[in-house]
């Protein structure tokens, strides 16, 4: 211990000790000289002899100092001080370098923090590693004749495609849950949940829309979550007939009650059903799906209260798949063991639900997946786009480093004498290289530090872009220690990367010519050219990417919707959740429509089961088989059904080609009517008049008379929609939830307040949700394409700018080098134009080489983003050609100024300068 203290003391006092040591050595020399003098030498000779015998005083002093100051750290200190001096001596260069590095490193940090939050963060519960999600897989449910042959007769949720077209899902019938739960040897807990979607949550008369999740009794116990207040749902609460209790999220408790403590014991209305709040979840808990954070947790069996007694059927139906499950493995049990133990159990049970041999041949097989990161929907949605973005910003950082390397190489020429002097004085080459690298790493670290600031802004804007107005976007990227660590590492790597080549170049051991003159060429020049070509190649890649995404966006924008985009306000209401029931509900909606129409500035109002663009997702008014004429007629394939209110076509500005649109005549009592789109009419009726003909909804045994033909309307999204639509009357196919569309004069958003007032007057228990202008609603569905388009264009422009700066620098430098040669040429009679061409020709050559390298790379890389494109081929020749032209023009522009300068060289002055 005293040893360590002594060393510490010596290190702290090193300056004083150094002085004392010097004095000691001087005294030694003096004593030796005195002795030699006494022996008969002259004072002069004695001193020099004493010195000679001593050895290299400076070196010995250094060696002695090294004993108490670790060499590495003292040299590092020196390098850092020297680096600071160099940086302040070249303020402009340093500032530019730091700025460009800040942008590059900042962008990388921002995107990495998103990736980290999606791909690497685990659920905020105890021991997430022991959680497993239960899934099953089977072969596709269609047999040869495209009929559905599978045990699943009904499903409430998502089936997603697995490998090789197999069907994968996380939903199970309730019977499976009960069977697997009993006496389970491998799970310490098995719990279930299912998405309750948005509900009307009324607290003390105030109603808003809240997302909900139904959970089984062991859900919170299995996740080992502790309440922030009150208690959480347990098995006692999840029995048929138990008291209706609810758990709310921390955010909800703050927004609606003013704090978790205030919420306990309060009564709330969920879809007009009374519940009591018994607990609040902790602030960082968001359930098991990172994509969605429920505001409300309800015991599973209460769905009978909320969704009506019809929901009780779900529990007994072994072919209805709706509940999702997760389990916690017992200590010592691996996921593979658990799967091996449970799969036969599940197989046995599911075989009892099969009714035909066909179904028995294709039974679902149990599969366990790790649950630590929660359900994978968020990851599935965002991981690929994020990887693409990361690749792009990575490339931008690379070319920024290339630029700085180039500039350092050019500056190395100026410092050649300095390096040569240091090398000749005995500094090791490694030492000098280390010092130059320290400079570069310092530059990069400064860039990294500023980059963090830039990253904060970047994360905020990216969150805005990606969430695109959605209310409960759960992706929270944060700059935590892991991310900052990555930033620091990135800075150091960059510094080493762009500093290495110039450092090695500067310290080549051919010292003599440098001392004499200071001209150099050869390998340094080659390195510069390689870097510039690489920058051009990368810029081309990014230009192609940007071009492809912009083209995709244009194609999307040019998709014919068939209805108006501007001046329409959309919003949704769900009266059923506030307690309304048929047939009064339909009347309520109809009356509201008339009230909206009377708002000043509203030229017409209408309603429908959903906005047209979201129609596919919300589920059509009718999804079963449709036939022309009687049940024996031709089946209509590929059409969407939309329940629409009066004046729908007028409000949406869809032309009526024949007959009439749905209007007030069509009431629940009157004959069912339908309006079809032109494409449907042409496909199934040819040139005959479809008016008066009938359409049959087989599954509902309803018969509709065609009373009108509309122009073609795209039902559903821009990418997936279908051009064939059937409009039914909302009064005859009453939806629970409606979307109103108001045609207004001026900015639609200015009418939102009036809308709220009208709704509040009519029924204050109903919240107004999903308020958007039609234009915003359409853009929302292509938000990813819009984001990508904007970002890539920005990246491409940035990359091109950096490459051009690099090109400009290199060309200027080479022109400066060749002043003599150009002077001679001009003296020998070369015209100005010829000189310009000489320079530009070299520039074009560089660009051409860059393109040659880049085109094959672009062709293969663009295949990776194929899934993001729409009606655009990854190797679209138009885009490639345009990118090439842009690049060449930019290159010529970058090279033009130096070329002009070259042509203005006065040959006499140039030759004299030699």
């Amino acid at each position: 211990m005293t040893d360590v203290l002594r060393r510490l003391r010596y290190w702290i006092q090193s300056a004083k000790r150094s002085e004392a040591l010097r004095e000691e050595m001087e005294l030694h020399l003096a004593e030796k000289a005195a002795e030699l003098q006494a022996d008969g030498m002259t004072a002069e000779r004695a001193r020099s002899e004493a010195r000679r015998r001593f050895g290299n005083v400076g070196l010995k002093h250094e060696e002695s100092r090294e004993i108490w100051v670790t060499r590495f750290w003292s040299e590092l200190g020196q390098d850092v001080r020297y680096g600071c001096r160099t940086m302040t001596a070249n303020k402009a260069f340093s500032a530019l370098a730091v700025l460009s590095l800040a942008l590059g490193i900042g962008a990388n940090t921002a995107i990495y923090s998103f990736m980290e939050s999606i791909l690497l963060r685990s659920l905020p519960v105890a021991d997430p590693e022991s959680l497993v999600v239960l899934n099953w897989h089977s072969r596709p449910p269609w047999d040869g004749s495209k009929e559905w042959v599978h045990v699943i007769r009904g499903v409430q949720g998502i089936l997603w495609p697995g490998d090789k077209g197999a069907m994968v899902s996380g939903m199970f019938p309730y019977g499976a849950f009960e069977t697997l739960r009993e006496g389970n040897p491998v799970f310490s807990t098995l719990f279930g949940y299912f998405n309750g979607h948005n509900r009307n949550l009324a607290v003390r008369g105030q109603a808003t829309s809240a997302s909900s999740e139904y959970v089984t009794g062991d859900y919170f116990r299995g996740l080992e979550v502790l309440p922030a207040a009150g208690r959480l749902i347990n098995s006692e609460d999840d029995r048929p007939g138990a008291a209706a209790v609810a758990v709310i999220s921390f955010a909800t408790s703050q927004n609606r009650f003013g704090g978790p403590a205030n919420a306990i014991g309060q009564s709330i209305l969920v879809d007009n059903i009374p519940f009591t709040v018994i607990g609040v979840t902790p602030p960082e808990f968001f359930g098991v799906d990172p994509a969605m954070a429920p505001d409300l947790y309800l015991p599973l069996h209460t769905n009978v209260l909320v969704d009506g007694t019809g929901a009780a059927r779900m529990y007994g139906d072994g072919n209805f798949y709706w509940i999702e499950m997760m389990g916690r493995l017992r200590p010592g049990v691996s996921m593979a063991q658990a799967q091996a133990a449970l799969a036969p159990h599940f197989h046995q049970w599911v075989a009892t639900t099969a009714r035909t041999d066909g179904e028995r041949a294709n039974l679902p097989a149990l599969m366990l997946n790790p649950g630590a990161e929660g359900l994978g929907s968020l990851r599935r949605q965002y991981s690929k786009p994020l990887y693409v973005l990361l690749a792009m910003v990575g490339l931008i950082l690379a070319i920024t480093c290339a630029n700085i390397a180039n500039l350092l190489l050019a500056r190395a020429a100026a410092r050649r004498r300095e390096m040569a002097v240091r090398l000749s004085l005995g500094a090791g080459r490694f030492r000098v290289v280390r010092q130059l690298l320290t400079e570069s790493v310092m530059l990069a670290s400064l860039g990294g530090a500023f980059g963090v600031l830039f990253a904060i802004w970047g994360v905020r804007s990216l969150t805005l872009l990606l969430s695109n107005g959605r209310e409960n976007f759960t992706l929270h990227a944060e700059l935590n220690w892991r991310v900052l660590g990555v930033t620091a590492a990135l800075s150091v790597v960059c510094g080493l990367l762009f500093g290495l080549a110039p450092a090695i170049q500067s310290t080549r051991p051919d010292v003599m010519p440098a001392l004499k003159n200071g001209r150099g060429g050869g390998p340094r020049r080659r390195a510069q050219l390689v870097l510039v070509v690489a920058q051009i190649a990368v810029s081309f890649l990014l230009l192609v990417a940007a071009g492809l995404f912009v083209r995709t966006l244009n194609k999307l924008h040019s998709v014919q919707l068939g209805y108006a985009r501007e001046n329409i306000l959309l919003f949704s209401l769900n009266a059923r959740q506030a307690g309304h029931r048929d047939p009064e509900m339909a009347t309520f909606y109809a009356n509201l429509r008339k009230r909206f129409e009377s708002i000043p500035g509203v030229s017409s109002a209408t309603l429908s089961q959903s906005s047209i663009i979201s129609a596919g997702m919300a589920g059509g008014a009718y999804r079963g088989t449709m036939k022309i004429g009687a049940v024996t007629g031709v089946t209509i394939v590929g059409a969407g059904v939309m329940a629409a209110g009066p004046r729908f076509l007028t409000t949406m500005q869809i032309p009526i080609l024949a007959g009439r649109e749905i209007d007030e005549r069509d009431q629940p009592g009157s004959p069912s009517v339908a309006v079809i789109s032109e494409r449907l009419a042409r496909t199934y009726f040819g040139n005959e008049n479809p008016l008066g003909r009938r359409v049959t909804f087989v599954d509902e045994k309803r018969d509709l008379e065609i009373v009108g033909v509309s122009a073609n309307v795209r039902y559903g999204g821009l990418k997936e929609g279908s051009p064939m639509t059937v409009f039914t009357a909302a009064s005859q196919f009453p939806p629970d939830r409606v979307t109103y569309a108001l045609r207004v004069a001026g900015d639609p958003l200015t009418y939102v307040r009036s809308v709220h007032e009208v709704v509040r007057e009519a029924d204050s228990r109903i919240p107004v949700t999903n308020v958007f202008t039609q234009a915003a609603e359409i853009d929302r569905t292509i938000s990813r394409e819009i984001t990508f388009s904007k970002l890539c264009t920005g990246f491409a422009v940035l990359a091109l700018l950096i490459a051009c700066v690099g090109l400009y620098g290199t060309v200027s430098y080479s022109v400066a080098q060749q002043v003599g040669e150009i002077g001679i040429r001009m003296a020998l009679g070369a015209q100005r134009g010829a000189v310009v061409w000489m320079v530009l020709h070299r520039v074009l050559l560089l660009a051409a080489v860059g393109l040659a390298i880049s085109v094959p790379a672009a062709l293969s890389a663009s295949q990776l983003v194929k899934s993001f494109l729409f009606e655009t081929q990854p190797n679209d020749p138009g885009t490639l050609a345009l990118a090439g032209v842009v690049l060449l023009s930019a290159a010529i522009l970058a090279g033009y100024a130096p070329a002009r300068r070259a042509s203005r060289i006065d040959p006499l002055a140039a030759l004299r300068h030699e």
């Binding site: 010596y10 030796k32 290299n56």
Partner: protein, 112 residues
């Protein structure tokens, strides 16, 4: 940081041992130590005087000798070193090791 590695001696590390031995007999300053070693070895061991100082720093850092400013016998200002208890122990260790080494070399030279 200030441990073994050494340059200027035929037998590595023996300069340390010689210094410790010298100081175990009497307190001396740097120049005095050089004089003592050269005289005692009949001028066989010629120590490069400069090399002494790194060695002294190392010995001081390890706590085996202690240096204070003072005045020498011929009235010169100098830093005078004396051996510490730990230093005496280290001297014993190094003497033993050195003896082992010379014995081994002698055996090899005498063998065959």
């Amino acid at each position: 940081m200030g441990r073994k590695a050494h340059k200027n001696d035929s037998l590595p590390g023996s300069l340390d041992m010689l210094i410790l031995r010298t100081l175990s007999l009497r307190d001396l300053h740097g120049y005095g130590i050089v004089q003592f070693i050269q005289q005692s070895s009949d001028n066989e061991l010629l120590v490069e005087e400069g090399s002494l100082y790194p060695a002294l720093q190392r010995l001081e850092l390890n706590g085996w000798i202690d240096g204070v400013w003072g005045v020498t016998s011929n009235n010169r200002r100098a830093r005078i070193y004396k051996i510490t208890a730990a230093g005496r122990k280290q001297l014993a260790v190094e003497t033993r090791q050195y003896a082992k080494l010379t014995l081994a070399i002698a055996r090899v030279m005498g063998a065959g």
